[in-house]
Amino acid sequence: MVQVNNNTPIVLRVKFYKKGSLQYISHLDLVRTMMKVIVRAKLPLWYTEGFNPKPKLTFAAPLSIGTESMCEYMDIRLTEKIPTAIAKERLNANMTDEMQATEVYYPGEKLTALKWLAYEITLEIKDATPELAEKINSVLESEELQVFKKTKSGEALVNIKPLIKSASARVAGQRIMISCILSADPSAFLNPEYVIKVLKEKCGILSDDNLLEERYSIMRTNAYKENMTLFS
């Protein structure tokens, strides 16, 4: 059925977290999941025109498998404004504990204003010593960080250093924590897994033969605009 849709959609922004087991869900699967969440939540959804009308969802900076996040952003298109508190309540009732909206609002800025993302990387490794943290810091501070990176034309050796705004490691109990801010610009997006990859190569940590005892986790913690003010 072809539906005529004269109204311009109203954009509703959802900031949500996606953590725990849900780090293993791909971006494509997240989109599919959210499509059903917004239907169950009975929001006044705006549908695309044409032969096969669908709701439209837009996400900022897709999260890759293996990364958790406290700051995901999704834009939903509505046919009418509804109170944000109601939208938040209904969305959360239709998602599980590991994925919940923290803020729901009608945004003033486009998703593309998001340029930098902060991550906390936790290394659970046997020798989480100040010496190792020091070594990691010296690697991260090098002039150049060459790594084989997927590009549009296959794999290439790329210097990822310019894509790292800041990065520093410290010892926290039995672990090493690395705080970093990486580029989220679609044309120069840096997946934090590349930081892990560099450290695996240069510091010899996280062996693949001991997956139960040597492991890491990544949490996306904050989003920034170009001028390093918080994105919202």
């Binding site: 725990g20 087991s21 869900i25 791909s26 499509m35 059903k36 669908k54 599980t96 997956l211 139960l212």
Partner: protein, 618 residues
């Protein structure tokens, strides 16, 4: 610490980790303190396939409606995950709680097709549970099998403690209740429990309680129950009234893409047609329909609880549903506005109408699939597939005028009485479809040309069908016919795909096998067989080798043909349809005589003795 934290390193190293995490919306978590029976519903294939299975969805819901039973799901890990689990000594666990499967009380395997047997047994090994029923001790869970394969589960019977024959909604709850009761009053032991289940619950088959003896030629002499109070034949269970049986109101929502990721409405059970090769059409009798009111209510409820944008109406032949118009009209009252589309997976050539096509494709375009099954009218009469070439032409005309230009046709080769002209007839039938396209005036043809795909399966004689005694074509003969068909197709618009004859050979052995096969199956599992239904893991050479080393002559189960007076491995089961009826149908097949559908005439199949509220048999 969260459920999957300790294995995060492993999850990051395997393909599709989303298969293993659980935590899906609508999945059921219960407080262990309230639970008296933990039931693991095990599906011997991947998460994506298992999550699509309607039987699992229904039984998961039924068991979890009991407050003191917690049913959780278990799927087969992909080989990359299995390798890691074995390397790090991680036992197979359930999706919901992540608890090891071996700690459950009851484990129910759903056996959907013969090629899943090795996967099921590998899952037991991964759980640390002995593979053979006789090797299990008091602390091991009770291992149950159910599903369509149990109409002849003899090849795997000795691996299971208990087999649920027929529909499981009532039986599984009764089994669980008996387990709880005997645990509570202290009378539980494996033997006592199995004995009581076999003697008091209809539809329960405990293989260990039946001694099988053989004649010198390898055929079965007899099944002898070792107790007086257990049935000599296990009568399958059916649900009497499908409007009253519980149907899920919620579905577990997979995070990752599954095979059938949509709402599935089961419209009726059974089939009025009586195609002579079709096991499902025989063993799901008698026909029991749901009312359109029940179905419409269920559909709305499922939509609200899932958010799916597609509802699939399923049954063996949806256009035979006596109230199809009321049902589709009832659904279309709200589905269009909600942007929900209807789909029908099974359509018969003789009952396909413009109106039906209009209703099911209001949102979607694409192709249509039909199953003429055989290439000539004579052979279609032999198999009682009551469709004609005129039906095909009429239907294809409707499809083309409705904008479909992609037609898929299903056939079988190796059918009883088949001659080479029947094989060539498959190519001719496909050509007829192409010709139908060009016979249309240019303005009425769908854009983009026409494409016809013919998919040809190898016929496998199945238990409880009129063809259960037939010879299966040899591997060489099947491959010769595949080649003949390939050479008979001259039109480039016809695409030809066919099943691997080697796979069909093994399926044939397992489908009509007896308990003598168990040793070979166990050996195949020990030597690495798993996911036999997956091309990349099917190892025919290994199967040939283990069967040979176990002293099995595979011709015995395939090309031999079974005698009409021989005791069949599946004679231990009473599936409703009688042997007399199957024999009558077999004779009619050889005379190329058709049998009318149940809607026209009662053919006395015998399934009506099982009872059940239904439209056709009174």
């Amino acid at each position: 610490m969260q459920k999957n934290d300790n294995i995060s390193g492993i999850l990051k190293s395997v393909s599709k980790p989303g298969r293993y995490i659980g935590g899906e919306y609508n999945s059921i978590i219960k407080n262990k303190a309230d639970i008296k029976c933990r039931f693991a519903f095990a599906f011997p294939d991947t998460y994506e396939i298992g999550m699509s299975n309607l039987g699992v969805r229904i039984l998961y819901d039924v068991l979890n409606k009991e407050s003191d039973i917690w049913c959780e799901r278990v799927y087969a890990p992909w080989p990359d995950m299995i390798e890691k689990m074995e390397q790090y000594a991680i036992p197979l666990s359930s999706v919901e709680s992540g608890d090891p499967v071996r700690d459950f009380d009851l484990i129910g395997f759903s056996l959907q097709y013969e090629l899943c047997y090795t996967t099921a047994l590998r899952m037991l090994k991964l759980s640390g549970i002995p593979m053979w029923s006789k090797d299990r001790c008091e602390s091991d869970p009770i291992i149950i099998a159910g599903g369509p394969c149990v109409y002849n589960a003899e090849p795997v019977a000795e691996f299971f403690d208990l087999i649920n024959v027929g529909e499981g909604e009532e039986v599984l709850v009764e089994i669980s209740r008996l387990y709880i009761e005997m645990k509570e009053d202290g009378s539980y032991s494996r033997e006592a429990f199995l004995h009581k289940a076999a003697s008091t619950i209809e539809g329960v088959y405990v293989p260990a309680f039946y001694d099988v003896s053989y004649n010198d030629d390898g055929t079965i002499k007899e099944y002898r129950p070792i107790f007086d109070d257990i049935p000599t034949k296990i009568k399958k269970r059916i649900i009497s009234d499908l409007d009253k049986v519980s149907y899920p109101e919620k579905l577990v929502m997979p995070y990752i893409e599954t095979v059938h990721d949509r709402i599935v409405l089961e419209v009726y059970r059974g089939c009025i047609r009586g195609c002579r090769f079709c096991q499902a059409g025989m063993v799901y009798r008698p026909i029991r329909e749901k009312s359109p009111e029940t179905l419409c209510k269920a559909a709305k409820c499922l939509y609200e609880n899932t958010g799916y944008d597609e509802i699939s109406l399923i049954s063996l032949s949806i256009s035979d549903y006596s109230k199809l118009r009321e049902l589709t009209d009832g659904l279309l009252e709200w589905t269009d506005d909600a942007h929900v589309s209807l789909s029908l997976p099974s359509l018969r050539l003789d009952s396909f109408s413009e109106e039906l096509m209009e209703k099911v494709t209001s949102v979607r375009t694409g192709g249509l699939t039909f199953a003429p099954e055989a290439g000539t009218q004579r052979l279609r009469d032999v198999i009682n597939k009551n469709v004609t070439e005129d039906d095909l032409k009429r239907t294809i005309g409707i499809a083309f005028r409705g904008g479909k230009n992609n037609v898929k046709l299903y056939f079988m080769s190796g059918l009883p009485t088949e001659r080479d002209e029947d094989i060539v007839g498959i190519a001719d039938t496909a050509k007829t479809v192409v010709d139908c396209y060009f016979a249309l005036p240019k303005t009425e043809r769908p854009k983009g040309g026409v494409s016809v795909t013919i998919s040809v399966a190898c016929f496998i004689p199945k238990p409880f069908t009129p063809f259960q005694w037939e010879k299966q074509d040899s591997l060489e003969e099947l491959e010769r016919k595949q080649k003949l068909l390939k050479e008979s197709i001259t039109d480039r618009r016809i695409r030809y795909t066919y099943h691997d004859a080697k796979v069909s050979r093994l399926e044939g052995v397992l489908a009509r096998g007896d308990r003598k096969l168990a040793k070979a199956i166990a050996l195949a599992v020990d030597e690495g067989s798993i996911f036999d239904a997956w091309d990349e893991y099917f190892d025919y050479e290994r199967w040939v080798s283990v069967l040979e080393r176990s002293g099995i002559d595979t011709d015995f189960y395939t090309t031999r043909g079974y005698a009409e007076d021989e005791t069949l491995p599946w004679d231990i089961i009473d599936a409703g349809v009688t042997k007399a009826y199957l024999l009558r149908e077999r004779k009619k097949a050889y005379a190329a005589e058709t049998t009318p559908s149940c809607a026209e005439h009662c053919n006395g199949c015998g399934a009506n003795k099982l009872g059940g509220k239904n439209v056709w048999c009174k």
